[in-house]
């Protein structure tokens, strides 16, 4: 039977050519000819009649064994060449036009021999090749057509955008978004124009919308490099309880994400085109730590202990919990009969509307029962702007330098007012008086009460001081804004903007009424003397006798006859005038501090004295006893509020009080036994030792910049284990992003450029670890 199937003889075995692109058209019928098709797919058995003598013979190789019956025609054409046969119809019958075909056309007029024509077919692999080329061409053509079409953004988009970006087009985020195919090729191979590569233009597209990421948004955490280095050093100085081998291995092999680059592309962490619901800000704990020097497993295992969290900085309002709780609240009724002891933390603190921050209630609700009387304390000297010194007028008269009418000083002491020194404001105003200024140095060591041994030069100096004092008082009393402006322009105008000078003038003019009254009482002839240019020399020294203070309670502006001063005393908490004085003086001080060292030293010295006087904790109103002053670089800012508006900042660590308080309050034991406010004590424990107020509370140069000062909180350090009770693998979230933010937006105290209300601004300068 095998004989019927395959023949394997040397001369009769079929010779197949599967590697040829074309196979015989009759192969599928099992009657393939031995020649096979040509390389071009033409039948190899085409008859090319040859001529012997005067006759053409058939040489069709496929028919060698049985030659064509019809044979070639007289012209040598093969009778099997259908192309040449075009049957024609004659008298309703189809007939061969070549005339030699014995079969003739078919009934439908087709050449009967055409059916026998071999049409070579492609071999299997050739068919596959054609299909491959066709498929590939279709894909290329299809892609080009789709790109050229209106839906090309859908074609090239690798996936749906998150809902926040869903409305964006390609060009909103990609430089290539508006490009053509050739532009894409160029960008893919060269990265596009050099200018775009160097400026991180792709990231600028992101920042066009996300512009609130600070001045260096592409730096790690948006921080300046130097700041980052200092933070890194601070972190590495801490001891880490554990380290992640996996992260260490990854860092060792592939380096850290920011290694070798200062800027990080947005796409390093934020992967788009992952679908509508993709969490763009999601990042694993390991990825968070891949940049960090110290690595650990979780908050529960290995997280560095809080060294100062959440008490990094001094509270803005001076309040010593330790002393109050351990000392004052036990005995305050003895000295503060109207005082009220707080029942719990929540007597003075309350949550903000967002439930995030714990605020301090206002003065009236917290401190006033004990401390409001201290603000209006008559024993505290007010803000003195003019003080008339006691001068030995007799001795001056002997030197032919009569003072004219000069009040008798009620106090038997040397100098000015109760303190004996020239008030800082007056000192600043007199600096503009050239007559006084030229002789000021000779006044050093002179006893104004006894000028009997003075030199003539000193006598002239004392006289110039007297004249200058009267002049300043007169200018304020007459509301001479022009002269005051000129005077201040010559002093603080050399260091501060004109707006600050103007502000100072306005503050001085508020004392006009009191100064006018003082001039009328103390120097009744002053206007006449100044108008006439002559000193009223009386035959006998008849000093004006004045008695007690004009003002009863010394609140507000007053003329104080007891020490011959014109001054301002706070009328209560949140006194706007005192607030303006403080802010103006701080503006002037900040402006002076910005000058190079050694420049305008006399004015700086006078301003420094003014600043020290105004910001003294025992100055009028005692504002700075409670409202702390922070130093930032060369600038200071006074903290009027216990908290700040931090809507513009994003610290590294964020915490929301309300869920924690609620959770603690609902705790099994606390639900029955805890009293309101006790939940605070779960985390915040006041130190037990009773002590005095700690010095850092009154440090004028205290700066809330990391590393620039030490602050010891009233509260015990918060251990990480306290948080890890809940934030662990089994109870609640404990990934890095639960508490930490990557993009840090920080606040910087801006220089008082104009009228210096210190406005918070977003800048990576300070308060990195400052908490709500």
């Amino acid at each position: 039977m095998s004989k019927a199937r395959q023949v394997f003889d040397f001369d009769s075995s079929e010779y197949e050519r599967p590697n040829h692109p074309w196979i015989c058209g009759r192969a599928c019928e099992g009657t393939a000819c031995a020649l096979g098709p040509s390389a071009g797919g033409k039948c190899g058995a085409v008859c090319q009649p040859y001529r012997e003598g005067d006759r053409y013979y058939c040489n069709n190789a496929s028919l060698l064994s049985s030659r064509c019956d019809a044979g070639p025609d007289a012209d040598g054409n093969c009778c099997h060449l259908p192309a040449q046969c075009a049957p024609a119809k004659k008298a309703g019958t189809w007939g061969c036009t070549r005339g030699q075909c014995i079969v003739g056309p078919l009934a439908d007029g087709q050449c009967s021999q055409q059916q026998n024509v071999c049409r070579p077919r492609r071999s299997v692999w050739a068919q596959r090749r054609v299909l491959t080329l066709t498929t590939t061409s279709l894909v290329v053509g299809g892609l080009l057509a789709l790109i050229a079409g209106p839906s090309r953004e859908d074609v090239v988009s690798p996936g749906a955008l998150t809902s926040a970006h869903a409305a964006s087009s390609c060009k909103a985020c990609h430089l290539a978004g508006a490009g053509t195919l050739s532009d894409w090729v160029h960008r893919a191979l060269s990265g596009g124009p050099a200018s775009e590569r160097s400026d991180q233009q792709s990231e600028q597209k992101c920042l066009a919308c996300h512009g609130d990421l600070g001045a260096e948004p592409l730096n790690a955490h948006g921080l300046r490099q130097a700041h980052l280095v200092s933070l890194t050093k601070r972190a590495t100085d801490r001891e880490s309880a554990g380290s992640q081998v996996l992260i260490g291995t990854a860092q060792m092999i592939f380096g850290r994400p920011h290694q070798g680059v200062e800027k990080l592309a947005c796409g390093t962490c934020h992967q788009e085109h992952r679908g509508r619901g993709h969490d763009l800000t999601g990042i694993s704990n390991e990825q968070c730590q891949s940049c960090h020097q110290n690595t650990f497993h979780s908050l529960e295992h290995g997280h560095p202990e809080f060294t100062d969290y959440p008490y990094q900085r001094r509270t803005r309002i001076y309040f010593d919990h330790v002393t109050h709780y351990n000392q004052h609240f036990d005995s305050f009724t003895r000295i503060m009969p109207g005082g009220k002891k707080p029942a719990s933390c929540l007597t003075c603190h309350k949550l903000d509307t967002a439930g995030r921050k714990m605020l301090v209630l206002g003065f009236d609700e917290t401190c006033s029962s004990c401390h409001s009387s201290q603000i209006k304390d008559a024993l505290v000297e007010g803000m003195t702007i003019v003080a008339v010194p006691r001068i030995d007028s007799v001795a001056l008269a002997d030197e032919q330098l009569p003072l004219g009418v000069w009040p008798k000083h009620p106090l038997n002491q040397d100098g000015f007012g109760p303190q004996g020194e020239m008030p800082a404001v007056m000192n600043l105003l007199l600096l503009a008086d050239q007559g006084y200024l030229q002789r000021r140095d000779s006044l050093a060591g002179v006893d104004l009460l006894d000028l009997s041994d003075m030199t003539p030069e000193q006598a002239e100096s004392v006289a110039s001081l007297a004249v200058a004092t009267r002049q300043v008082l007169h200018e304020i009393a007459t509301g001479d804004q022009g002269r005051l402006q000129k005077r201040l322009n010559a002093t603080i105008g050399r260091v501060a903007p004109s707006a600050v000078v103007q502000q100072m003038v306005e503050l001085l003019l508020e004392a006009r009424q009191s100064a006018e009254f003082a001039e009328a009482v103390w120097f009744p002839e002053l206007s006449h003397e100044l108008d006439s240019g002559e000193v009223v020399v009386q035959e006998f020294y008849k000093p004006q006798v004045v008695s007690e203070s004009i003002s009863d309670d010394l609140a507000g502006w007053s003329t104080v006859n007891s020490d011959l001063t014109v001054r301002y005393s706070a009328i209560g908490h949140a006194d706007l005038t005192m607030k303006r004085w403080l802010e103006t003086v701080i503006d002037i001080r900040n402006a002076a501090a910005a000058l190079p060292a050694g420049e305008q030293s006399d004015v700086k010295q006078a301003i420094g004295r003014l600043f020290a006087e105004v910001t003294s904790p025992i100055a009028s109103g005692r504002c700075v006893k409670c409202h702390s002053i922070d130093l930032s670089g060369d600038h200071v800012v006074i903290n009027w509020l216990s908290t700040r508006d931090d809507s513009a900042i994003r610290p590294f660590t964020h915490f929301t009080h309300s869920p924690h308080m609620r959770e603690i309050a609902q705790d099994a034991c606390n639900a029955c036994h805890a009293t309101e406010g006790e939940e605070c004590m779960q985390c915040h424990t006041i130190k037990s030792q009773s002590g005095r107020y700690r010095p850092e509370f009154f440090d004028r140069d205290w700066a809330p910049v990391l590393g620039s000062g030490h602050f010891s909180s009233d509260f015990r350090d918060l251990p990480t284990s306290n948080c890890a009770k809940c934030h662990n693998n089994s109870v609640s979230r404990n990934d890095c992003l639960t508490c930490h933010k990557y993009h840090v937006r920080q606040r910087r105290v801006q220089p008082a450029a104009k009228v210096g209300r210190v406005a918070p601004s977003v800048s990576p300068q300070m308060d990195v670890h400052e908490l709500p």
Binding site: G30, L131, T136, G191, L246, T249, G267
Partner: protein
């Protein structure tokens, strides 16, 4: 040179595959931890794998070059193909892509990968089946052999007619066997190795035999033998056809995949930054 047995080579490649899979997973994890662009790395690896896999087809065209044996290439092709599936999964994040081009690309890859795995199974199973049944016939010769069997069967029928002048055999042949011998039959039955069609014909022939004389019985027996031979040939044809047809999916889509992958790389770099 000592020929390493196939089983040994397969074991070695399997171990290498597992090691590579573990290595790829570890690298992806470490890259992911350090916020590297894992998709970029896995993408290039996948592209390289596809390029190497596609070159196997070219390797068969340049057999004159000493580039290793074809069986070695095939085994490397198979194991790299399996590796590429893991790399592909890593590249797309084990999720269904949702961009048009991405979906097309993923679909092309998956079809290529699936056809490759099916082809692997076919190339492992079918040759064994072919060697177990009938005479192995080269695919290109099958039509010729088919024709030869048909001619032989018809000669037997004509001889019987001439000698017996009875039309019983010719009529039976014309009604039951002619279409069977003219072309290949029972493709799907052969795929599942069923001989139902063949046995049905044999049964009919046996039933018909009780009415035949000796000469006709002899002819009917011969025809039965031809039916068995033809059925074996159909079995070979069916299996060899599948052995060739799966490549009609695998190979063209591979090149389409390469084209789409190049386009994909172009788009990725155009929209994300320079190659360098």
């Amino acid at each position: 040179m000592t020929l390493i047995p196939f089983s040994v080579r397969r074991r070695r490649y399997s171990v290498a595959l597992i090691v590579l899979l573990l290595l790829a997973g570890a690298i992806d994890l470490l890259l992911s931890i350090t916020l590297q662009r894992t998709a970029l790395v896995s993408g290039w690896v996948l592209f390289a794998l596809v390029a190497v896999l596609a070159s196997y087809n070219l390797r068969k065209r340049i057999s004159f070059l000493p580039l290793g044996s074809s069986s070695t290439w095939l085994q490397v092709h198979v194991f790299l193909g399996l590796l590429s599936i893991a790399v592909f999964g890593t590249h797309v994040g084990w999720r269904v892509p949702n961009g048009y081009l991405e979906v097309g690309l993923a679909f092309a890859y998956l079809v290529v990968a699936a056809s490759g795995m099916i082809g692997l199974w076919i190339s492992r199973v079918f040759p064994r089946r072919l060697s177990e049944r009938g005479e192995e016939v080269f695919y290109a010769r099958i039509p010729r052999v088919l024709r030869r069997i048909q001619v032989a069967a018809e000669r037997e029928v004509l001889a019987c007619l001439t000698e017996t002048e009875s039309t019983a055999i010719p009529e039976f042949y014309s009604e039951e066997l002619r279409t069977f011998f003219e072309r290949h039959r029972y493709f799907w039955q052969h795929m599942i190795r069923s001989q139902r069609g063949e046995l049905e014909l044999i049964r009919k022939m046996e039933l018909h035999g009780r009415y035949l004389n000796e000469r006709e019985k002899q002819a009917m027996n011969s025809l039965a033998e031809y039916v068995r031979v033809k059925s074996d040939l159909d079995f070979h044809f069916s299996h060899q056809l599948v052995l060739k047809v799966w490549l009609f999916i695998h190979v063209p889509l591979t090149y389409a995949l390469v084209v789409m992958a190049i386009f994909h790389v172009l788009i990725v770099y155009a929209f994300s930054g320079a190659v360098h």
